[in-house]
Amino acid sequence: MATSLPNQNISARKRPSRQAWGRVIVYALLLFWTFVSLFPVYWTVTTSFKVAADVTQGHLIPWVDFTPQWRGWRSLGLSPETIGQTSTVRDEFLKRFQNSVVISVGASLLAVALGSLAAYGLSRFQYRFGKLGNRDLAFFFLSQLILPPVVLAMPFLVLYRELALLDTRIGIILLYTLTVLPIVIWIMRDQFQSIPIELEEAAFIDGASIWGAFFRIILPIALPGMVAAFILSLVLCWNEYFFAALLTSTNANTLPVMLASQTGSQGVNWWSMAALATAAILPLAIVGILLERYLIKGLTAGAVK
């Protein structure tokens, strides 16, 4: 064998070392990018436990070059000693947190409900609204993605003032629903198209109505897609800043608005900023990590055929 195929033999002998080097490089690059991705988060979380000297001297590793303290969390009223006491900062934070939860969950639920229905209709039936057919309708919904938020921001400012919706949760929910609706429709259309139409036909023969078949047969199958759309919407709504900054002031502002207002003021200390940033990103980061599977499913829907 070796004599008959000299070329292959050489490459076979060379391969182990080259492959080993390749693996080293691959893992080195992977670890490097893991560091790039995680270090800012690590830095923020650890800084919330630092005192001034630790920050200025560039201490990085807890218990090795600095002793963790509850400084940042105390200023938020969330450290072990202060958790039982009253704290205006904590009340403020919890109010913003509650706003963020209500608004992002509300908008995501509304978008998933409206978007799933529309996506199902578009994937199954032929519509005609005047001259507009299914393709036009789908394009109309998806093209909302292109609309930059600034175009809507100022008309909404004026309209919401007239409608008394300025600085209300419901006003922000409506706007967020709109921003994620095209994404939900995109994901759910892909989801419904992958479900064979024979399932409904069988249900119709058994005497189910259109809506009966949808709720009893199709919805359970499409549930993973709906969860994916919901998680992706949740991430986008939780992090949204632009509309919230313009359209809320005291009642309905969300965590990003609170965070931004703190960033602007000079007197705020690093540790309390770090604690606030940690508290703002952590809930969603945990949700995202636990449900990462769905997030990826949502992101990649329709991209690969």
Partner: protein, 373 residues
């Protein structure tokens, strides 16, 4: 026509109410009653707010309720009048009525605002001023400067794409702990841009104590000011934005790589292709459709870039990092002139639509010419 409706059509007469004419009448009556209600609400409130009548509501909220009632009536009358066909329309109608109310109306209303001088903080109210805003826009150097920055930010997407492709290839290689790496790489995408602005822009890159600045000093850069000179500031903003958005492209490309047929790669290996050759001859061409999707989506999102700029540099130094959105945001915050701001925004929107239309047309032509796809 899909096969499902033909099956249901036979079931329809059984389920339909015994008196179709009466259903028709009820449906039509419902629709017109709701329309009359909506028009009456608009009329009453319009006259009241114009100061012509004494009777009206404190704000326009009742008109919104009237629209909601009208929407429900439209849906109900569809079902009553058109039976099965109406039930099908019921799937798409809520989203349609919602989008019409929340997008089309404000956008048209925005056009109306754009041609007026309207300072929300002054008492004079809205004044029609024709094309004044448009002329002012043409002569606004900061607006066009922001527009120029957008070109740079959009081009940066290509760099992000190259890095994301590399990462996707790494994740697609035969590695251990793939799930850990994937979650770690995806994490920046889940974080709020405002938080990222502080975490990286204002603290890691802080001039005195930021670890990144100290690291830069270690490498020999004496005054690591990341946001002081125009080009370095732009590069820093792009770096921040890339950190958040590379995972998005990466995940799309990774899905594309995993969907690629394995046997083609093995055939290439047997034929003796090197890794470099098989990437350019096989992987890259096969990945073109996914790549185009990822890049176009990213460009669409990039055109909305604002949060990071507003919270890190506020457009500085001297407007070097301004995006159109952040510029209009400040324009509104500083002068609260909604008329001029809306004109800037609507014009930007028109440019975006033209740009994306041309881009998609070019991509379509180019993809058709490509031999492997």
């Amino acid at each position: 026509m899909s096969p499902a409706p033909s099956v249901t059509a036979s079931a329809a007469p059984v389920r339909a109410a015994p008196d179709p004419a009466r259903r028709q009448a009820i449906g039509r009556g419902l629709f017109w009653a709701a329309t009359a209600l909506l028009l009456a609400a608009v009329l009453v409130q319009g006259l009241y707010s114009a100061g012509l009548t004494e009777v009206g509501f404190a704000n326009w909220r009742p008109v919104l309720y009237a629209y909601v009632i009208w929407s429900v009536a439209v849906c109900a009358s569809q079902v009553l009048r058109r039976g099965q066909q109406g039930q099908r329309a019921l799937f798409v109608l809520p989203a349609l009525l919602f989008t019409l109310a929340v997008v089309v109306f404000p956008t048209v209303f925005g056009l109306f605002i754009a041609f007026s001088d309207w300072n929300l903080s002054s008492f004079t109210g809205r004044q029609f001023n024709g094309v004044d805003n448009f002329v002012a826009m043409l002569n606004d150097p900061y607006y066009w400067n922001a527009m120029g920055n957008m070109v740079i930010y959009v081009l940066a997407v290509l760099v992000q794409y190259a890095i994301a492709f590399g990462l996707a290839l790494l994740l697609n290689a035969e590695i251990r702990a793939r799930k850990f790496f994937r979650v770690a790489f995806l994490l920046p995408f889940m974080l709020s841009p405002v938080a990222v602005s502080w975490m990286i822009g204002k603290s890691l890159m802080e001039y005195r104590f930021g670890p990144l600045s100290q690291f830069a000093r270690l490498l020999g850069w004496d005054s690591p000011a990341f946001f002081a000179t125009p080009w370095i500031a732009r590069a820093s903003i792009i770096a921040l934005d890339s950190w958040v958005s590379i995972p998005f492209i990466m995940i799309l490309l990774l899905a594309g790589l995993q969907a690629m047929p394995k046997d083609i790669m093995e055939a290439a290996k047997i034929d003796g292709a090197t890794g470099w050759q098989s990437f350019w001859k096989i992987t890259f061409p096969l990945m073109l459709p996914v790549s185009v999707t990822a890049i176009v989506l990213r460009i669409i999102f990039q055109l909305k870039l604002a949060d990071i700029v507003i919270n890190t540099t506020a457009g500085g130094p001297g407007g070097a990092t301004d995006t159109v959105t952040s510029f209009i945001y400040r324009e509104y915050r500083d002068r609260s002139n909604v008329g001029y701001g809306t004109m800037l925004a609507e014009f930007y929107f028109v440019l975006i639509v033209i740009f994306l239309t041309v881009l998609l047309a070019l991509i379509n032509r180019w993809m058709k010419r490509f031999p492997t796809t």
